[in-house]
């Protein structure tokens, strides 16, 4: 296109044939905006999947005594002596990780203890402070986390100011053949993890 042929706006004899510059600017702006926003939105939503995706299995009625969401432990009630030292137990279950299902692998570890009076309590061994592992200290007869020195009493209550809350207790049921039975010989635990670092105990 030579310079001579360049249309000068004033030379246009037929105004409706060419859009006014204002409209063209708007159109160009809208198009550019879309060209930027659409790919960014697609990418962004993809990236947000972990918080957008609906959890597949949630909300088994906690109050109704079905054993949904409970895992059977190897350890049995008679292995727990009243007011004895806490006993560690590994929770073995199927673990789903993205595209894989791992059959019967350790998914966590818990502390079990029979309190005075015979009641059995279970605690998640993950520290409510920032998620390290809580140990039982034979010398001090308490629970202790080596990361930032959180201490807990044997009933799971905080014993110093480091942890934001008590140890996370877990629902535990004595059962026979998978049915709740106070005289049963099986121990079932509802294994859950909880948010760390917060005073409230929120399941994740």
């Amino acid at each position: 296109m030579s310079d001579a042929e360049a249309p000068a706006p004033s030379a246009s004899a037929d105004p409706p044939a060419v859009d006014p510059p204002g409209r063209r600017e708007l159109l160009a702006a809208v198009l550019s905006f879309l060209l930027g926003v659409v790919p960014a939105a697609i990418g962004g939503l993809f990236f947000l999947d972990p918080i957008l995706r609906r959890k597949t299995d949630s909300g088994s009625g906690a109050g109704d005594q079905t054993m949904d969401g409970f895992v059977k432990l190897d350890i049995t009630p008679e292995n727990l002596v009243e007011e004895g030292a806490p006993v560690a137990s590994t929770v073995i279950a199927d673990l789903d990780d993205a595209w894989n299902r791992f059959k019967d692998v350790p998914i966590g570890s818990i502390w079990l203890r029979r309190q005075q009076g015979g009641e059995i309590v279970a605690f998640n061994s993950i520290c409510p402070h920032l998620g390290c592992s809580i140990n039982y200290r034979r010398g001090e007869n308490d629970f202790h986390c080596p990361c930032h020195a959180s201490s807990f009493d044997l009933d799971g209550a905080t014993a110093n100011d480091t942890p934001p809350r008590d140890m996370d207790s877990l629902e535990i049921v004595v059962a026979t053949d998978g049915r709740p039975d106070p005289n049963g010989t099986e121990l079932w635990v509802k294994y859950q993890n909880f948010r760390r670092g917060t005073p409230e105990k929120k399941p994740i």
């Binding site: 292995n79 966590g108 920032l130 390290c132 034979r138 010398g139 930032h148 670092g197």
Partner: protein, 688 residues
């Protein structure tokens, strides 16, 4: 040099003309000459100086990271079952893999150090002041990006160290007010760590963050050039240009960085700890050393009282805020503001140094942390050994190698189930002394450190009373003795007063005539325990020669001693089989009615004997009524766990060169009160 060049040009003038034409043609189309000129001939008033090198070293180090990073990328596979495995392969099998990973690892640390120096330099020189404040802020953004890179990179090998340290960091993220949960879930790719945590961290580490870094860096350098150097002293030296004076200094500095990084990579090396296992506690978790100050800060109970959000987010946020405000502090407070800024920087630096030193010193003195570290090193070294072993890494990952390895699991099972009474070379199996309220606790049963070894067998035969003397610390023993003293009729195992001890008292057992017989008997007993690795794979089994195997010739003689009483002197005709009727036979779990009334020695110390014993120590074929050991049911000790424990005790695992826990029998006997009956007569270490 100049002469030679001129000479060469003189000889072939047409070549230089062609060259010049080519350059001109290229310049015409790109304008690169001007670009080069601008890049290389920047004014350097006051002369080239060492204090200007930091920016260049950072650019160089980043380039190093890009090169080594791309190479690592070409061999790395992000998933929970391949990340550790591929890093292992890079580090130990690929050509120069250790160097590429080593350089990447140490250059990352160098970058953090150089950034800190660069920042301090900028503050001291007042290079943050207007009109350079925007560039200062961009520098702070770059700092965050570099820290983000180091954080994401720490997790990628998916080893215990990175896994647990990063968990703490992502848990800190969740303490962010309001959106904490979402941030954490987004970073992790879900509510828990898994494949997606790795893929996302990797995308951040190798894609998003480096892209951002390059973009910010480009603008940072562009703006820096726009405003020029912040010159401290114009009259320091005559003005010069970037090329070649400053470039020379920069190059020397970069070379020093490169040399340091390479030396560290070659002589220090990067650790790859054991593969991440969410079910295995890792008490040695610590962040990278340059985050230790923050870690130590979070250790203060007062800080925790105010909450994780306060300690880990608000305080660091305020500090970053103060740093970011520096240009404004100067703007509104003038030179006083600058002094304030400098003081703040020095104070912050000092606080970081002090906190870091505290963290290091406290860890060094913390025995349980040292024990956790020792275990972590043992696990890590063992994982490497197994991965390089004849079976390689199975598809279910290296983590399964360790879960199925007696050498790794045995000590843990021992500590959990046995160490309340027994010890292993004085410790709890995992290298830690067993303590109770009063301090180091006295064992109440045999030290099983050398169980089934030749020394063990010899000690049982000739030194029976002493060998089992630890149990005299037990309450049951003391009670039984009291009852006995009170004239009651009690049945209990008293090592001092036993048929075995009185048999072993015979002088001729220790006489020179019987020395060879005794050695042969010990060898026979040792062969019955059948120590050593028994590979499952048939070919491997055939090819494996057991370094723990007994001497067959001696075993033959020993068998005659044990079963026919082939002794010299008084002992002649007195054989083990007189009481232990099944010695030398295959182990059979005979019923209580069929037992001979003495502990069975059929395959004594072997896996089959041990398993039966642990499950039923009170059976008549073992200790019968005299037994004090609790029976371990499969509910307490699963079959697979029992198998691992027993295989560890009988040496049935891929032989290991890994440095094992120290023998701590001396610590044990040294710490016990002398009144303790067993303390002074503790059996000597089972292994010489």
């Amino acid at each position: 040099m100049a002469f030679i060049l001129r000479g060469a040009a003189d000889v072939r003038p047409h070549e230089s003309i062609i060259m010049k034409a080519l350059i001109d043609w290229f310049d015409d189309r790109t304008g690169f000459k001007e670009l080069m000129h601008e890049a290389l001939y920047e004014r350097v008033p006051g002369g080239a100086r060492w204090r200007y090198v930091w920016g260049s070293t950072l650019v160089f180090t980043f380039t190093l990271q890009v090169i080594t990073g791309f190479m690592l990328w070409s061999a790395y596979s992000p998933s929970t079952r391949t990340a550790w495995e591929s890093v292992y392969y890079i580090q130990h099998e690929l050509t120069l893999g250790f160097l590429v990973r080593g350089v990447h690892h140490f250059a990352a640390q160098a970058m953090v150090v150089l950034m800190a120096i660069h920042l301090i330099q900028v503050v001291i020189d007042g290079a943050y002041k207007a009109p350079r404040e925007l560039n200062f802020w961009m520098g702070l953004v770059l700092l965050q990006i570099v820290l983000g890179l180091s954080l994401t990179g720490y997790l990628l090998p998916w080893d215990q160290k990175g896994y647990y340290a990063t968990q703490v960091t992502t848990n800190i993220m969740s303490a962010t007010p309001i959106v904490g949960d979402q941030i954490q879930t987004l970073a992790q790719g879900g509510t828990e760590y898994g494949h997606l945590t790795l893929t996302r961290f990797f995308a951040m580490h190798a894609g998003i963050l480096p892209t951002l870094l390059v973009a910010f860096l480009a603008v940072h350098i562009y703006v820096f050039r726009r405003h020029g150097l912040t010159v401290h002293d114009e009259n320091h030296a005559p003005e010069t240009t970037f090329w070649p004076d400053q470039v020379l200094k920069d190059a020397v500095a970069c070379l020093v960085v490169l040399a340091v990084v390479m030396l560290l990579a070659i002589f220090k090396g990067v650790e790859l700890s054991a593969p991440a296992d969410p079910s295995v506690k890792f008490d040695a978790a610590r962040p990278e050393w340059y985050f230790l100050f923050l870690f130590r800060f979070l250790h203060f109970e007062v800080v925790n009282k105010l909450g994780v959000t306060f300690g880990a987010i608000i305080v660091p946020g305020i500090i970053m805020g103060v740093v970011a405000m520096m240009p404004l502090t100067h703007k509104y407070l003038g030179e006083f503001g600058h002094t304030l800024n400098k003081s703040f920087t020095w104070l912050l630096g000092a606080a970081i140094v002090v906190l870091t030193a505290m963290a290091i010193i406290e860890d060094r003195e913390d025995e349980s942390h040292q024990a956790a570290l020792a275990e972590a090193h043992r696990d890590g070294a063992r994982a490497l050994e197994l991965a390089a072993g004849p079976d390689r890494i199975p598809v279910d990952g290296a983590v399964e190698l360790l879960r199925r390895d007696p050498f790794t699991q045995g000590p843990r099972l021992f500590a959990k189930h046995c160490s309340a009474c027994h010890r292993y070379n004085g410790h709890d199996g995992r290298g830690t002394m067993v303590v109770d309220k009063a301090g180091i606790a006295a064992p109440t049963a045999a030290d099983l450190g050398g169980f089934g070894s030749r020394d063990w067998m010899r000690s049982v035969v000739v030194d029976y009373a002493n060998h089992f003397s630890w149990q005299k610390n037990a309450t049951w023993f003391k009670d039984a003795q009291k009852a006995e003293a009170a004239g009651e009729d009690v049945t209990y195992l008293n090592p001092d007063d036993s048929e075995m001890a009185s048999w072993a008292d015979a002088d001729s057992l220790r006489s020179a005539d019987n020395a060879d017989n005794l050695t042969a008997l010990v060898e026979f007993l040792y062969s019955e325990a059948d120590a050593g690795y028994k590979p499952l794979d048939a070919d491997e089994r055939a090819a494996f020669s057991n370094p723990l195997a007994a001497d067959p010739a001696l075993v033959g003689t020993g068998r005659a001693v044990a079963t026919e009483g082939a002794w010299a002197g008084d002992l002649q005709g007195s054989s083990c089989v007189d009481c232990h009727t099944s010695i030398g036979e295959d182990f059979v779990a005979v019923s209580d009615d069929d037992a001979d009334g003495y502990p069975t020695l059929a395959k004594y110390g072997s896996a089959v004997w041990l398993k039966d014993f642990i499950r039923n120590p009170g059976a008549a074929r073992h200790y019968g009524e005299k037994n004090q050991m609790p029976a371990y049911s499969p509910q307490q000790l699963r079959d697979d766990e029992l198998d691992l424990l027993v295989r560890w005790m009988t040496g049935d695992y891929l032989p290991s060169e890994v440095h094992d826990y120290e023998n701590r029998l001396e610590d044990l006997s040294g710490s016990l009160p002398t009144s303790s009956s067993a303390g002074s007569s503790a059996p000597t270490a089972a292994e010489e």
